[in-house]
């Protein structure tokens, strides 16, 4: 944001003190459309001032969940609490939440200033108050010169700002945003992302932000909630979700290229074995480990190229991608594809035989059937637990 200090909350006084607290709690929230389950038993606490990102692939129920919080969709199960009060049956008008729609939903027949001022007009605020407030928000978002235009006379980025302005103009309990950046080009998306983070830091407001873009989630979230087919797959800070994915789905969803996942088996000596694979897992010394099949995961950037003799993974390079600053080498290890990412040049060419290794700390083990993360629990009974 280019403009400096603008108080967003109460017109006078210390914004931080007057700002309302707002926490959102979802208790077993569910929604079905006919036989199809869009959202299934979601339990979630959104803390005051948190930037919560709902992340997941297309069709996983993100918008449905957000619309239920906004009151636009009736849940078929569960409760929604705002600051501890049950708002499940409250119509959206009385929830005092602001929403930025994926399509922006700017009123096409109203000028930019009327669009931004709409929530105040609906609350029967006085004309001068509306004008002042709209001017303030427009200055903050760099829309001052566009106030008399109609939405159709704006570019995509400008429309996005107007939609944001309409949410900012009042002091809502929380902001709900449904993929607000998905209509912008890559460069604009990057700058707007930074602006939104800055805005959140300044307002310290509660935000629930929906996206399917992992970069947005990683860079903006104070907490990521990963959804899969209507269920919460994992919730936690971005670093945690990235470094310790709870499931194979989470491991695949974050990271580019995605985490390498190969079938292997843990043997009695505490190593992972498989076709072309023989890696130490860095487990504490034990007499013998229980043998079991696992899915072994390792991020492409955590693999390093080593001489083939005695390497943990041995394979053949099938293709090399040039990303400019970095290179990605795709290799065939046993019958699995494994990608290696590193600074350019990697020194691998298609057809080369290659040896790879990774520190034990960067290896992830998952149950091949349930897909859930496995950790080693050194207890009296030495059985690996999920």
């Amino acid at each position: 944001m280019s403009v400096g200090q603008v108080a967003f909350t109460a017109p006078s006084g210390d914004a931080a003190l007057l700002r309302r607290m707002s926490t959102i709690r979802l208790e077993g929230l569910g929604r079905r459309f006919g036989a199809a389950v869009a959202v299934d038993d979601v339990w979630l606490d959104v803390a005051d001032g948190e930037f919560l990102v709902l992340l997941g692939p297309s069709g996983c129920g993100k918008s449905t969940l957000l619309r239920m919080i906004a009151g636009l969709l009736e849940p078929s199960a569960g409760r929604i609490l705002l600051d501890g009060a049950d708002i499940t049956a409250l119509p959206p008008q009385h929830r005092n939440l602001a929403m930025v729609f994926q399509s922006y939903a700017l009123y096409p027949h109203l000028s930019v200033s009327r669009n931004i001022g709409f929530p105040l007009r609906a609350r029967r605020r006085s004309k001068p108050e509306i004008t002042a407030k709209v001017g303030e928000v427009a200055a903050l978002l760099g829309l001052t010169d566009l106030l008399d235009r109609k939405p159709r006379q704006l570019s995509g980025g400008q429309r996005q700002r107007v939609a944001l302005g309409r949410a900012l103009v009042r002091d809502p309990g929380a902001f709900l945003m449904d993929e607000p950046l998905s209509n912008l080009d890559a460069a604009l998306r990057a700058t707007t992302r930074a602006e939104l983070v800055e805005l959140h830091r300044r307002l310290n407001a509660t935000v629930v932000y929906v996206t399917h873009d992992q970069v947005e989630a990683m860079t903006m979230a104070s907490r990521i909630v990963l959804l899969n087919e209507g269920r919460v797959e994992q919730a936690g800070p971005p670093g945690e979700v990235y470094d310790a994915p709870a499931t194979v789905f989470a491991a695949r969803f974050l990271g580019s290229p995605a985490m390498n996942l190969v079938d292997a088996a843990v043997t009695r000596d505490g190593r992972a074995h498989g076709p072309g694979i023989d890696l130490p897992l860095g487990l504490p010394d034990e007499a013998a480990f229980p043998e079991r099949p696992v899915t072994l995961g390792v991020r492409p950037e955590r693999l390093s190229i080593v001489p083939e003799d005695g390497a943990g993974l041995r394979g053949v390079v099938t293709a090399v991608e040039n990303l400019g600053g970095e290179e990605v080498a795709h290799c065939l290890v046993g019958s699995s594809q494994v990608a290696v990412r590193g600074p350019r040049p990697l020194g691998a060419r298609p057809g080369d035989r290659i040896g790879l290794t990774a520190a034990p700390a960067h290896l992830h083990l998952f149950d091949p059937v349930s897909g859930r993360r496995l950790t080693w629990q050194p207890a009296a009974t030495t059985a690996p637990k999920e």
């Binding site: 959206p92 602001a98 939903a105 009123y107 609906a122």
Partner: protein, 314 residues
Amino acid sequence: MIGTFVEAVPSLPPRRAEAAARPRAVVRLARAAPPYLYLAPGLVLLVVWTYWPLAQTFFLSFHSWNLVPSTPMTQVGTDNYERLLTTSALGSSTVRTFQVIAGLLPFTLLIPLGVGLLTRGRGTVHRGLVFAPMLVAPVAGATVWMFLLDPDAGLVNTVLGTDVNWLNGTGTALWAIVLITGWHLAGFAVLVVAAGLAGIDPEYTAAARVDGATSSQITRWITLPLLSPTLWFLVLMTVLLGAQWTFPLIDTLTQGGPAGSSTTVYYLLWEYGFRSNDAGLAAAAGVLFFAGFMLVAVPLARLADRAAVREEGP
């Protein structure tokens, strides 16, 4: 030895002006023709059925002729117009025409708008029921209404407990016609409004609800403005065509009577032409009415156009 910097990428050769070879005239013609050929059938029909009769009417209005092909037309100058303007029939039938239009507007605009807003998002079954009258042929409908409005045994009088002679009273005949026409048209207008409402993106309403607007605010500030092109269309349809739709009913039920009290301009034209066999007079009345109608319709169409452009979505 001292080197020199050279541009690593050779600069682009200068653009050469393209020598546009002009195709031969025949080729150009063949290329330009298709759009006009596609338009031709429509244009021919328009000329044959609209512009040519219009020109003929204008020509006829300066002649006297009794519609018998063997009788020659005689040129009478502006006689027909003078006769029209000195009698009161044209004036009073014009007033009645506008009364009909005003009387139809509730049926083609207000009632459909109310029904549309109330049944928004409901199923199609009862919309189908509302639309059903449109499918009844006007003459068939008229016959049924004749029974219903019968002064002695009619259902309307029975239900209301009155003994009004609806179709034969000078004060009620025109309004009975308006009511029956309105009954015919309302279903169609409801469908048009429903289609207009369905065309409004529900996201606007959703956004307005989250923004805290009440449902009456949403109707006034969002729905009605976005629906205005549709409403203008209905107003235009009613003004331009409404009085014409009453014609079959007038012809079946009242024949313009009693005492001319249900004679609209359209019925007057028909009477002059085919009752009195005075083609010249009918043509002159038609020309005058056409000119007067343009004065009303053109500004209205302009207004509607501007509204449509203003409300157009992004």
